[in-house]
Symmetry: C2
Subunit: 133 residues, 2 copies
């Protein structure tokens, strides 16, 4: 078994076999999105240089940009002290958010206790994601 496979197996996955992945813009350090990876998604991310995740709701692996073309090129991967989360620094092509924003975190909590949109859309989701039949 390779050193990389050892490294991936020794991570601490939760009871569903997942760890948290925080995707960050390698240049601006903005948090772009948070998702989950299982062992295979992490290995595929490292081996291909493109981010792969595991969707809890759809119960399948997916690659960022597989539909939108808004892929993420991996620049570096960091692990935390508990070995149950990774930070993935990427070069983001287009937007990380399927709602049309650069980052999924486009709303900030306001003084009034409500979420307020604090970013501008960079694309129209309808132009990028085709309706499914």
């Amino acid at each position: 078994m390779s050193s990389l496979e050892d490294t991936i197996k020794s991570m601490k996955y939760d009871k569903d076999g997942l760890l948290t992945a925080v995707v960050v813009d390698a240049t601006t350090r903005q948090v772009l999105m948070v998702a989950f990876m299982n062992q295979k998604a992490l290995l595929d991310t490292i081996n291909t240089g493109k981010t792969h995740f595991y969707s809890r709701s759809r119960r399948k692996q997916w690659t960022k940009g597989e539909e939108s073309g808004h892929t993420q090129d991996v620049k570096a991967i960091y692990v935390d002290c508990d070995m149950d989360a990774v930070v993935v620094e990427v070069e983001q092509h287009g937007g990380a958010c399927h709602e049309g924003y650069r980052s999924c975190f486009f709303r900030r909590l306001g003084e009034d206790g409500q979420w307020q949109v604090v970013a501008m859309k960079i694309f129209e989701p309808g132009d990028v994601y085709k309706p499914k039949g």
Copy 2:
């Protein structure tokens, strides 16, 4: 019910009642740690201005710095498109990591497939955390 309580109740918690919280340095944007919040931890974070989390392993709420004094002052909170994760921008006092580092993400994946420490310790854990009896 207040607007803030409505906001907190309308978040999408997982089957364990938790959402992911990514804590980021408000100045440098470095990711400091990843943890989980339930409704009460999120409300306490907002109301006190100090980060509160829920520990899955210890099954209890905790406040960052309760033992070490290395507290986090909340500067802003962002939510993602799916309403199941927050980014909390903080002013970090001391280090976020109980292993003595500023950030829990002090290891980067190297070319050899192994984690390599890429940060310097800023405190000695033994000086800050007392052994439990």
